[in-house]
Amino acid sequence: MLRLDRIDVSYGRVQVLFGLSLNVSAGEIVCLVGRNGAGKSTAIKAIMGLLQISSGSIEMDGERISHYPPHRIPGLQIGLVPQGRRLFSELTVAENLEIGLMVRGGGRNVRQRALEMFPRLQERLDQIAGTLSGGEQQMLATARALCIEPRVLLLDEPTEGLQPSMTAQIRNAVLQLKKQEVGILLVEQRVDAVLALADRVYLIENGRNLRDYSGREINDTPELLIKHLGI
């Protein structure tokens, strides 16, 4: 469904991604792992059109989208849960969700479905997003992305700085979305989180594909990842 084919991305003169390829199919959980600075977030931003690629291509359903203006990407039902949450911090919970709903004109039922995954948010609709706890903020960032009814969801380190119970909630949400045939691209640092979920794993280093693993391989021999991530 979503396909990156040998993309190069640079910040000014500094090239960060070198011929990176990956793809995500419907109902599949694909993990992207790599050390700090490997270029994981850069790849995510390139998919969203927030960074221009200098060669290669990005396709959704076989259609080339890498030349689209960025504001058209979410309309293709590609949802983003960015690193560091990036909520509209002075808007309320409800308003943050509203921004997501506007993408496809989703109504109350779309919002309701997003909220059902995170009932805590339901009671806090009028609270200012910036005053939520870290875990609640992550829930909201995820619910906001669900409001665009994504077919592909990009999650950039959703469990960063969360305690285990919160991590479990996010993981449950991801599994539930997988059942709904949503394709998931999950950026993770924590090997334990990757292990249980992944159908496939892309290990990248210095902006290049280093190795691909199946979920089975990783589960059998987690050392493969642990060694590379230097944990």
Partner: protein
């Protein structure tokens, strides 16, 4: 005139200044807040509003009031449209870079000013107010015979001035509700908070910027149309509103609309009162000094929130 009535008159003058200043400065404030563009040409949009108001009200020769009411709609719309064109031709090409857009809007300032000089000419031109009855005001005094009502000579306001103040309040309240409640207001606030995330949620921020720039210019033009029957149209009249708007926006806290309105009231009232009792120059000196103090001791503005 005694001190009491005199002071009340000065306050009314100040309220008039505050009303027009609030409209103009809020225009500058939304442009800065949402686009991060310091629009040095803002005063020229004000001036254009006044000049267009003169043109419309003198060429549409039905009745001065009709011409003026027409100008009240036509001038802000035309100026707003011109600003959108400038945004598309200049600011967008510069990718809204905060520094380069300052230089670009300085260029825009001179372009607008000189074209106006070449077409409209160097003369100041009056616009007739649509209505202008004088209302004498009573004054109450506790004299030897108890409570007394007097009618001090020269103590009164014109209906036009009162109407301007009320109209400005209505527009500002309307704008506030628009920003807080409407869908486009929500889009504007989201864009202001995080433009990259706005894009990632499908908001076409360049279109939002164009509309915001048009809105900001339109507000300046509206302020000008309201004041032009009192102050006359002139091609150099943009300097003072620009200076005062900057003062107000800095004191109010950059990009904060409630702060801007509060600061406009503070500066407008003190300008009116100090001008009447002392001199307009002293009023400007005090306002400028206040800005210097705010910049040094409270850079987030008197009414702005402290930056984290």
């Amino acid at each position: 005139m005694e001190f009491g009535p005199h002071f009340l008159l000065a306050t009314l003058e100040g309220a008039l200044t505050a009303a027009v200043l609030a409209l103009t400065a809020v225009g500058l404030s939304v442009v800065f807040g949402i686009m991060r563009v310091v629009n040095v040409a803002h005063g020229e949009f004000f001036m254009l509003g006044a000049v267009i108001a003169w043109f419309v009200s003198t060429t549409v020769g039905i009745h001065p009031a009709v011409g003026f009411l027409l100008a009240l709609v036509v001038a802000p719309v035309m100026v707003g449209f011109l600003a959108i064109v400038a945004d598309q031709l200049v600011l967008r090409r510069l990718d809204y870079d905060p520094e380069r857009t300052i230089v670009a809007t300085i260029g825009l300032l001179y372009c607008i000013q000189q074209v106006t000089l070449m077409t409209f000419g160097p003369d100041a031109r009056p616009v007739i107010p649509p209505f202008n009855q004088r209302i004498a005001l009573p004054w109450f005094e506790l004299g030897e015979q108890g409570f007394q009502v007097t009618w001090p000579w020269g103590f009164g306001v014109t209906t036009y001035k009162l109407a301007v103040i009320m109209f400005a309040v209505i527009i500002l309240v309307g704008l506030w509700r628009f920003l807080a409640r409407s869908k486009f207001g929500l889009i504007m606030r989201a864009t202001q908070l995080d433009r990259e995330m706005a894009l990632a949620f499908g908001i076409p921020i360049e279109r939002v910027y164009a509309i915001v720039f048009g809105l900001g210019a339109g507000l300046a033009a509206l302020g000008a149309v309201l004041i032009v029957p009192i102050r006359q149209a002139h091609y150099l009249m943009g300097g003072e509103p620009l200076l005062l708007s900057f003062i107000v926006v800095i004191i109010g806290g950059l990009g904060s609309i409630p702060g801007t309105i509060m600061a406009a009231i503070l500066i407008g009232l003190s300008d009116g009162i100090i001008s009447v009792f002392f001199s307009p120059t002293l009023a400007k000196i005090i306002a400028t000094l206040l800005v210097a103090f705010v910049l040094v001791y409270r850079p987030q503005g008197l009414f702005g929130r402290r930056l984290p």
